[in-house]
């Protein structure tokens, strides 16, 4: 191949841009800024390609030493060119210039430098690099201990991090979706495209995913010729063919980031990252959960750098990236180029450079005997070929100005250049094959790790399987695609297009011995070859130790350009082979994924669904203040004008209930319909108390235990018919109680005839409580139903109608201690019934009350609730020991008799009132004997629930106290240091209103 006669034309406004190359849209020019300077680029550019087109190579500063860094790669493996993209609330730190697509008005800034990229004060760290070696922190900053948080750590944290996260909430929205497919093809390069074509023939569902905006992968990057035409034309025809098939989905700008169990893959689609701001309602990114029967991994390979002196200087670039910039973007990253390689990839690199009009100063081939291909290109291009030579050092600081070369004879040569194109060989992108436990295998011929055992359903195609040449990639893609749709046997075959065979000969060279300057293994984390040596010297030889001690591979690229070189260097030092040295397993995600994308819709108010009770709308109209109770939003209290605070309101609500009548939405309680011939037998085994004697038309309080004898939930059991029960659970435990009962019915006692159906939401259920509750209800309940005390006594239940024939259920239950009812109607009438009750209650001075007053009244009556049902208390602890049946087996019976469960030293439920009646009580306070010191040894229990009791005119509390029931009348200390409280309280019986219980029966 001869040098082209004329150098290709360049764009006068973008000095390194070739006007007729690549797949960028040369017809449109767009503008962007980098560190405040405006540049021009084209749609289809990345920020990196556009910067290079403008001759900008210096892109960032390294993490530790603040060394100037350029653009190493052209893909997601980029360790150096990390930018802050966009600004304000959309600021994105650590964005790879090599994958960020250019759009008009894009704003990018360099990061981790001050005051500017060009002059960075912190680059002084580089001078101290002899001190700041791997493991440096572990050895110092220990004295004096007090200075760590005060001095050392703040300094370290000031230096930490690269870019800055936005200070404001992310204004963009994210979306998630699930796709199911027969075949998922990961990677739209030549192998992936062939796999998609082959799989699509079957008519089965195929999803093809590619990271880039344009399909084609290395075929485009390398400017390949396929079937005698430029790759981009071939790609276009394949795309057209695939698009014509209804069951083929092509996802561009989408990266599969993780392999999960069961053929599930996580993928991120960057829907709108290539525009400044997404259109209204449009997501910025979309998370795909792809469930695939088979997957074809066609993720290609990533080129390795070679470790030599100052190999991090801007202008040292991977050879494959140089080709990508030329062929895909029409950008020549340098004009005087030294190509340094240990393999034949140098051949096509030189060809592309020459065709692009660059001057290839020399080919430095580390192999002592040049391959035929290298010799041929060197002679045809008229380029100097230095075989058996190595670049020992890149010259220049913020841009490469030359290369120091040691020839085969050991002589040192200095060549001027502005770009060193490096190829150390290729690492297949095997990460997705290892996420679910697959172990990579080292291949001695190809000098790389290949996938070993594969996840169930995964096949390989192309370079990821070591098929580095284009014809092999195409062929293996066709095979994999056909196999994937044929249940393991190849069935359909499609013609494989022709392409020229490239030589992939390689000889090991990981680092250049006896180099001067710093030689970087992991660019972003500033890990050098001497750090690896130090780690070895100090015993950190296991590959995970090496990684953790030096931070190698822990940067934003997960060491994609670093890990294998580091392993090889460690292997070399320790005299082991690479497989003996080991391999760190890649973790998901394959490329970093925004937290927002993984969260999707579920943030802010949409974090979890909100459940609204039937009277919610009415309650809001009444000015109710609502409170989160699990997922429910429940009215907490109903303030009225003139009330100075919530306590004022709650007092009024309680007084109204105790003196007149109040209405409260209790629909959130779990409700379960239990039917069947064995319903009674079943409930006997589920509840700790006796239910056998429960008559039809009656309700009873009941408690459930866990099998370990601890109280699980409480509620009522109502019997509507011989074989029909209707039970309630607490709001908090509704879901778990249903699950528990289903467990009992299906697993413990499958022989029982019992059907369990949730009816929680069918019924809008309101407590109507207070001395005038019956009078109020009389106006609601249809006249044919007798609700007199004789006809409908305490604990009676019945099916009735209300308001002229609406079916309803009436329960005479009370948690307030007053005469009270719960009335349930089908939920669609819930709003209307509340309005009716409200109207009907007017003449009785009725109020609505919420969870606060509900709580006050249950505390006044000593009823337990969530704070007492805390998962560690027994029936005896809460004063229900007498309820526990001794005559039957039930869940929790046996373990409930263990010594620790029946220990009389366990604190028991009791009531409290302040000795100084004006003092406010606080739950969470611990009890100490009067005069006892506040020590753990003297801790005798804790307060669980407190309320201001309007009925008593002072605060009251419930709590657990050792030997509580025996200590009524004793004064103890309620100690609450976290709120500065320390109060004397009197132990009283846990009933503060109507201890005889007369009012409840009317």
């Amino acid at each position: 191949m001869a040098r082209t006669k004329e150098a290709p034309r360049r764009d006068p406004l973008q000095p390194q841009r070739l006007v007729d190359r690549g797949i960028v849209d040369h017809r449109r020019t767009i503008e962007f800024t980098f560190d405040g300077v405006t540049y021009k680029g084209h749609p289809g550019d990345t920020v990196a390609s556009a910067l290079l087109a403008n001759g900008v190579m210096l892109a960032g500063r390294s993490f530790k030493y603040h060394r100037p860094r350029g653009i190493l790669s052209a893909g997601s493996e980029e360790p150096s060119a990390l930018l802050e993209l966009r600004d304000g609330a959309r600021r994105e730190p650590n964005t790879k210039a090599t994958t960020a697509e250019l759009f008009d008005g894009l704003v990018a800034k360099s990061q981790n430098r001050w005051p500017s990229l060009d002059f960075d004060v912190m680059s002084i760290n580089s001078l101290l690099s002899k001190v700041f070696v791997a493991g440096f922190y572990y050895k110092t900053f220990m004295w004096p201990a007090a200075l760590w948080e005060k001095l050392y750590e703040p300094a370290i944290r000031r230096a930490a991090g690269l870019g800055r996260a936005s200070d404001a909430a992310d204004p963009d929205v994210y979306e998630k979706t699930t796709a199911h497919t027969d075949v998922l093809i990961i990677g739209g390069g030549p192998a992936g495209l062939m796999a998609a074509l082959a799989a699509a023939q079957s008519g089965k569902r195929v999803i093809l995913v590619d990271e880039q905006a344009a399909l084609g992968g290395r075929a485009i990057d390398d400017g390949s010729i396929i079937d005698g035409r430029p790759a981009r034309e071939w790609v276009r025809s394949v795309e057209a063919e695939l698009a014509s098939r209804p069951d083929v989905t092509i996802l561009r700008r989408t990266t599969v980031f993780g392999t999960y169990d069961g053929g599930t893959y996580g993928a991120l689609e960057r829907v709108n990252d290539h525009v400044a701001v997404p259109q209204k309602h449009q997501p910025r990114q979309r998370l795909w959960r792809i469930v695939a029967k088979r997957a074809v991994l066609a993720t290609g390979a990533t080129e390795r750098p070679i470790v030599f002196g100052d190999n991090d200087r801007p202008g040292v670039m991977l050879a494959g990236a140089v080709r990508t910039y030329i062929n895909r973007f029409g950008v020549v990253p340098g004009d005087r180029v030294v190509v340094f390689a240990n393999n034949d990839y140098a051949v096509s690199t030189v060809t592309d450079l020459i065709n692009a009009g660059a001057n290839v100063v020399a080919i430095v081939d580390s192999r002592p005997k040049p391959s035929e291909a290298i010799s041929r290109i060197a002679s045809s291009a008229g380029t100097k070929l230095l075989s058996g030579a190595v670049v020992t050092r890149a010259l220049g600081k913020k841009r490469v100005t030359g290369a120091l070369i040691r020839t085969q004879s050991g002589a040192e040569v200095r060549l001027f250049c502005d770009l060193i194109a490096v190829s150390g060989g290729w690492n297949p992108n095997i990460q997705l094959s290892t996420h679910v436990g697959g172990k990579p295998l080292w291949n001695d011929d190809l000098l790389c790790f290949l996938p070993g055992s594969l996840p169930p359903g995964m096949l390989l195609a192309g370079a990821v399987a070591g098929n580095f040449s284009l014809p092999k990639a195409l062929g293996s893609g066709a095979d994999a695609g056909a196999t994937a749709v044929a249940n393991g046997t190849k069935s359909v075959s499609i013609p494989v297009p022709k392409a020229a065979e490239d030589s992939v000969r390689i000889a090991p060279l990981w680092r250049v011995e006896d180099h001067s300057g710093k030689a970087f293994v992991d660019f972003q984390n500033d890990v050098t070859d001497t750090d690896v040596e130090l780690a070895e010297r100090e015993g950190f030889r296991a590959v995970e130790h090496l990684k953790r001690y030096t931070t190698l591979g822990m940067a934003t690229d997960q060491g994609r350009t670093a890990n294998v070189n580091a392993l090889a260097i460690m292997a070399d030092i320790t005299g082991r082979t690479i497989p003996q040295t080991g391999m760190t397993l890649a973790r998901p995600p394959y490329v970093p994924v925004a937290v927002g994308a993984l969260a999707g819709h579920h943030r802010g108010k949409s974090f979890k669904p909100t459940r609204l009770p039937p009277s919610y709308k009415w309650a809001k109209e009444q000015g109710a203040v609502c409170v989160e109770t699990g997922l429910w939003l429940r009215p907490s209290y109903f303030p009225r004008p003139g009330e100075k605070d919530w306590l004022d309101t709650v007092k009024r609500e309680v007084n109204t209930v105790r003196n007149a009548v109040g209405i409260c939405d209790v629909s959130t309680l779990g409700k379960v319909d239990v039917q069947g011939k064995d319903a009674a037998a079943f409930l006997e085994r589920v509840y700790m108390n006796n239910l056998k004697s429960l008559a039809i038309g009656k309700a009873r309080y009941g408690g459930m235990l866990r099998e370990d004898g601890i109280l699980f939930d409480d509620g009522t059991v109502a019997r509507f018919a011989e074989n029909q029960y209707f039970i309630t659970t607490t709001t908090a435990n509704a879901v778990r109680a249903l699950q528990h009962m289903e467990y009992c019915a299906q697993w413990l006692w499958p022989e029982l005839d019992v059907q369990i159906i949730s009816a929680t939401e069918q019924w809008a259920q309101y407590a109507v409580a207070g001395p005038k509750s019956r009078e109020l209800l009389r106006k609601i309940v249809d006249p044919e139903f007798d609700i007199s005390d004789a006809g409908f006594p305490y604990l009676q239940v019945g099916e009735i109608t209300v308001c002229g024939g609406v079916k309803a259920r009436l329960f005479r239950l009370s948690f307030s201690g007053e005469r009270a009812y719960e009335i349930g109607v089908p939920a669609r009438y819930g709003d209307a019934l509340m309005r009716q009750l409200w109207e009907a209650g007017r003449e009785f001075g009725a109020c609505a009350y919420g969870t606060e007053a509900l709580g006050v009244m249950r505390i006044e009556k000593g009823h337990i609730s969530g704070p007492e049902l805390n998962g560690t208390t027994t029936p005896r602890d809460v004063g229900l020991g007498g309820m526990v049946s001794k005559t039957k087996d039930f869940v929790g019976r046996t373990l409930g008799t263990r010594p620790g469960i029946v220990d009389p030293e366990r604190p028991q439920l009791i009531g409290f009132r302040p000795v100084d009646r004006s003092v406010r009580l606080r739950s969470g306070a611990h009890f100490l004997a009067k005069g006892a010191n506040p020590t753990a040894a003297n801790d005798e229990g804790y307060m669980t629930s407190v309320a201001y009791s309007p009925s008593n005119g002072h605060w009251i509390g419930l709590g657990f106290l050792k030997h509580g029931p025996e200590r009524v009348g004793e004064i103890v200390r309620a100690y609450d240091p976290v709120r500065g409280g320390d109060t004397l309280v009197e132990v009283v019986k846990p009933v503060f209103v109507d201890p005889e219980g007369a009012r409840v029966r009317g």
């Binding site: 929205v173 979306e175 998630k176 979706t177 699930t178 796709a179 199911h180 569902r205 259109q279 309602h281 449009q282 997501p283 959960r289 469930v291 819709h601 579920h602 949409s606 979890k608 669904p609 909100t610 459940r611 609204l612 009770p613 039937p614 709308k617 429910w632 319909d673 039917q675 069947g676 011939k677 064995d678 029909q724 029982l752 005839d753 059907q755 369990i756 159906i757 949730s758 009816a759 929680t760 939401e761 069918q762 019924w763 809008a764 249809d782 209300v802 308001c803 002229g804 024939g805 609406v806 109607v825 089908p826 939920a827 669609r828 009438y829 819930g830 709003d831 209307a832 019934l833 009716q836």
Partner: protein
Amino acid sequence: MANMLKPTSAFSHLDPLSTPSLSVAPREDLTMASFAAGKDQVQAVMATIKSAYGVDLPRRPARVSGKGIAFVWAGPDQWLAVAERGANRDMERELKSLLSAMASVVDQSDGRVVVRVSGPLSRQVLAKGIPIDLHPRAFGANAAAITHASHIGVIMWQLEDASTFELAMFRSYADSFAHWLIETAEATLPATA
């Protein structure tokens, strides 16, 4: 005496959406009841339903419909009967009179609310919240599933029409579900316009 109570929709924030590619509308006119066969009563229940409505109850997730009623599989030996309320039709009452000895029947007309989503974009919209396979080959006419949509439990089924779905969820979730559905619909509509 006439019923003085007016039913209220659980959807206070769902404006029906009607575009050529997507329609969303609540179905407020349904009467529903779930019924679970008693022990060793499945065959009897199936025979009774067959003789009353001429349909075979499915033993796996599916929907069958006949004579103005649809039965959706709702769990092992359990179904949800769905019909238009019409002239005071009450599914619970109807089924109780048929099945009282062999199944437990529970009114769900109010416990669950139903949204209909239809149109060519319906699958794409629903896939953004529902994790199951909605491809027509996997979920076609009269298919049914119990699953979740954007953290909310649903029973869903497809009508005979190729792109019309109904989703039933517990009533208290109605607004949260509608919020998600409309937001997702908005994100999907212009993207394909």
